[in-house]
């Protein structure tokens, strides 16, 4: 019983990339594609996918409105995985509040993408650990705390990796982090690489940005 996925993105290249990555898995099947959120509802009704990989920015109907529309009008709605580029995630939390089950960076490694699809298909909420704090803040005192804790338990950054990321957000170099943690620089490099991969960041600067944008660290 494979996981069925509907791809919604205005860029054909992105759809092709997601399809290639996901179709390579024997337990995942891409059952359809859409170029805009406006086309999602009929496709969802027709194909009844387990997961909708939803882009945020689309010309006609963006991912936020499309997510709301699907969840309001479809019985037994699919899980919605918000797909976003790194720079334009200001709408991600709106989408999550609209009912999306997780979000994913486009530049994530294939294994991460596959992992994300499987997780949301299983009903788990998928959030990058860095987003937990911000999520809790935006959801207030409601059941958001529960979701935040749940996400925290499935935190994909290990304890050590989180500590390394925290020191990265202090502007420390690998050598300085190594001194601070009493380990070798090679060890720090391993952790940094793991952090970059998990956050979908290309370099430490992007990782620090992700940390700020997600609320992993707060300014001031």
């Amino acid at each position: 019983m494979p996981v069925t996925v509907l791809l919604v993105d205005d860029e054909p290249l992105v759809r092709a990339g997601l399809r290639a990555v996901l179709e390579a898995q024997s337990d995942i099947e891409v059952v359809g594609e859409a170029a805009d959120g406006a086309a999602v509802i009929p496709l969802v009704r027709q194909l009844r996918p387990d997961v909708v990989a939803m882009d945020v920015r689309m010309p006609l109907l963006d991912g936020i409105e499309a997510t709301r529309a699907v969840l309001r009008t479809v019985d037994e709605p699919p899980k919605i995985l918000v797909v976003t580029t790194f720079e334009n995630d200001e709408y991600v939390y709106e989408a999550l509040r609209a009912g999306a089950d997780g979000f994913l960076l486009k530049r994530a490694r294939p294994a991460e993408i596959v992992h994300a699809v499987r997780l949301v298909a299983e009903g788990e909420s998928l959030l990058f650990p860095a987003s937990v704090r911000q999520l809790a803040a935006r959801y207030g005192e409601g059941d958001g705390n529960r979701a935040a804790r749940a996400a925290l338990e499935r935190a994909r950054l290990t304890e050590r990796e989180a500590e390394v990321l925290r020191l990265m957000t202090r502007g420390l170099s690998n050598a300085e982090i190594a001194d601070r943690l009493f380990v070798g620089t090679e060890t720090v490099k391993s952790h940094v690489s793991a952090v970059l991969a998990k956050l979908g960041a290309r370099d430490r600067t992007q990782a620090v940005i992700a940390a700020y944008e997600s609320g992993f660290v707060a300014p001031g």
Copy 2:
């Protein structure tokens, strides 16, 4: 509606001097004094000053930790003006990066002290709250006042530099910034170097951190 100021310095003489200078202004009111950073937080909560004139070197809790503590634990924190004896004080950099809003030399002329207080009180100061240590060091043994003033002037980012910094905070590489701005990578490198120097940042990661910490860019 006068600007209210809290003085924090371990030397009574300095506090008296600052009080005399500031109280001479009809629009500035010194509402309290503290002899150490350890006493700052309750006083800030009680007096709610607009500006805290904070010495860097203090016996119990130095200006760096005190600045961090205030910004982290107080709602609507005051502006923090770092006061120091030496323009090349190593701790100035850390204090500014901790979130301080400005930098002032004790030997500055009264008019400049007043000006500095008014500037940070207005919040929208032209100062970029970052290190002036390197800039001050360049002026070396020159007159302290001029060194400080020049440093403050030089700490202002040009329009182009601000644009480059903004793109840096989006995670772009030098080559990507060059493409975005239709200039050569060497030009971008020049701007980046200028930004790093003015912010006292060692690399682009620290510059991005400074941008977030200072409110140059806001997360979310």
